[in-house]
């Protein structure tokens, strides 16, 4: 018997995500979002997703624009330095087409950890006395049975899928991110299945050179998508600010400019077509 490879194509990786799934997306602010996975998910026009995006950006905006999102669990959606608030997200929340469940970043961590540990909830103090429990009825204020203090019960954030990014992995699902990891390890631990997008697939003996950097999950698929965090950064590439500005302008306008962005950059036949659309000169200029 041979050890099974979990290396799959983009299409195969996302085929399992059906309408109504709860999907976590990793990365933070301008770095390490698994954008190739996000674009493929948007291209498939999956419906009714509950999207868990702790510190989201245009990943959230693209999925909302493609009509995939029903409920959004988040602490922040913006395009750092380009748009203070994600334009598509703002419009969708204001017109009521997407419901948002607000969480503090630490609530997100507590909820994911509870899910990872098969607990119903974990307690947290931050948010006591604020509007969080009114804005998100999942958060339940209670009096702690030990010291009698007021705390919040943060319910388990159970995910069906976590879409994550790492710079490198082997074909057996051993991922080695080179960044700071954000909440990604935990998102994976809270999920039934992890899909991890990488720039490089390396041999297992390469992974063994630095086992202290390896992340693994019970059930993971690996998808190779070079430059796949674009327009966001990874350890070898800075964010493409010009592209983000172009997206923000289209997103603010909505309508035809946003549709055009989706046609050109999301509905392009595959990841390679997307990279062709961006262009080799632009991609090369982003490498550090």
């Amino acid at each position: 018997m041979r050890r099974a490879s979990v290396l799959v194509g983009l299409d195969e990786a996302l085929a399992a995500i059906g309408d109504g799934a709860t999907v976590g997306v990793g990365g933070a602010v301008t770095s390490a979002h698994p954008m190739a996975l996000v674009r493929e998910l948007a291209r498939r026009r999956v419906r009714g997703l509950t999207l868990v995006a702790p510190t989201g950006g245009i990943d959230v905006d693209i999925l909302i624009a493609a009509g995939c999102v029903e409920t959004l669990v988040t602490c922040y959606v913006g395009i750092e330095g380009v748009a203070a608030v994600g334009p598509v997200y703002r419009r969708a929340v204001q017109d009521g087409s997407v419901r948002v469940r607000d969480l503090d970043e630490a609530h997100c961590i507590a909820g994911l950890r509870a899910a990872a540990q098969k607990l119903p909830f974990l307690p947290w103090r931050g948010g006591v006395g604020t509007s969080y429990p009114e804005l998100n009825e999942d958060l339940v204020p209670f009096t702690d049975p030990v010291a009698g203090e007021e705390v919040l019960a943060v319910p388990a954030l159970n995910l069906d899928f976590a879409l994550l990014y790492a710079e490198t992995a082997d074909e057996f699902g051993n991922a080695q991110p080179l960044g700071t990891g954000n909440m990604d390890l935990l998102l994976g631990q809270a999920a039934e299945q992890v899909i991890v997008q990488v720039d490089r697939v390396v041999a297992n003996h390469e992974i063994r050179r630095a086992p202290e950097h390896t992340w693994y999950w019970r059930d993971a698929r690996v998808v190779r998508a070079p430059f796949g965090t674009h327009p966001y950064s990874n350890a070898w590439m800075v964010a493409d600010v010009e592209h983000l500005q172009g997206f923000a302008a289209a997103a603010r306008d909505g309508g035809e400019p946003l549709d055009e962005y989706l046609r050109d950059h999301v509905d392009a036949a595959d990841h390679d077509s997307y990279l062709e659309q961006v262009g080799i000169r632009r991609l090369a200029s982003l490498l550090v």
């Binding site: 702790p54 510190t55 929340v93 204001q94 948002v100 630490a106 103090r125 006395g129």
Partner: protein
């Protein structure tokens, strides 16, 4: 505040830097606040060489002479991983003793020092105006030794009697009742002055920037300020402070713009 000698953001940076204290061992600066970032870097270059400054993904200490990070932009990418340690989001809240201090902006601040970053709810479960989200303000404001509120505008829509939604609880009585461990709001900065809170926890004028009158501030505030008869004038930046700020902290002139 009208002066050709320094910009508003330079004044903000210097007022914040002056107020940081030796017991502030770790300071965290969030997104979109170059003036706060400059304040933390300036303090660490001058009075507080032991200060650890968390900017983006990196933890910096400048006491060993390492180069000061740029005031702007706030990037979460390889260029920001230049510190002596890394900030990992998943474990950032595992140690509630850190950071000691952070800085917040807000859509609204109210008489009791509460801050709103969520937006304006429509009263029936939706939103009239949606902000970016509460990031980690609720947790940071609960646990930190102290925090500063920096408001880029001062008018009756931003300084309100009661915020439309509370992202961070500033109200001193409520904080005490709920036994929140942190020290709460240190002061509020606006283009018109510096504000703190009186014995009963209501916002009052601590000082007014040069040329600003009490009547003018009251006019621009959506509630009655608890005030002294003749509030002092804000101590303006010294030539030495401006020199350090412009040569060592912000040589690109981000704050001066």
């Amino acid at each position: 505040m009208a002066s050709a000698d320094y910009s508003l953001n330079e004044l903000f940076a210097i007022l914040l830097a002056r107020d940081l204290r030796p017991e502030d061992r770790t300071v965290q600066v969030g997104a979109n606040m170059p003036m706060a970032r400059a304040a933390a870097v300036m303090a660490s270059l001058t009075e507080l060489p032991d200060l650890r400054v968390i900017l983006g993904l990196g933890v910096n200490n400048l006491g060993d002479g390492s180069p000061a990070p740029l005031v702007h932009p706030f990037v979460f990418d390889p260029r920001s991983q230049v510190g002596e340690a890394l900030m990992v989001q998943e474990t950032a809240f595992a140690d509630a003793r850190q950071p000691d201090v952070f800085f917040v902006g807000g859509l609204q601040v109210d008489r009791r020092g509460n801050i709103n970053l969520f937006g304006i709810p429509d009263g029936s479960g939706g939103w009239k105006l949606r902000g970016p989200g509460g990031v980690a303000l609720a947790t940071m404001s609960t646990n930190c030794r102290g925090y500063y509120i920096v408001m880029p505008n001062h008018d009756a829509r931003t300084f309100v009697e009661r915020v439309a939604a509370v992202s961070a609880l500033g109200d001193r009585d409520e904080r005490e009742r709920l036994k929140l461990p942190g020290g709460g709001v240190r002061f509020v900065l606006s283009p018109l002055g510096v504000f703190d809170f009186d014995q009963s926890g209501d916002m009052r004028i601590r000082s007014l920037h040069p040329g600003v009158t009490t009547a003018q501030v009251q006019e621009a505030t959506g509630f009655l300020l608890a005030t002294t008869e003749d509030p002092p004038v804000t101590a303006t930046p010294t030539p030495e402070e401006l020199h350090i700020l412009r040569t060592q902290v912000d040589p690109d002139g981000t704050l001066a713009a």
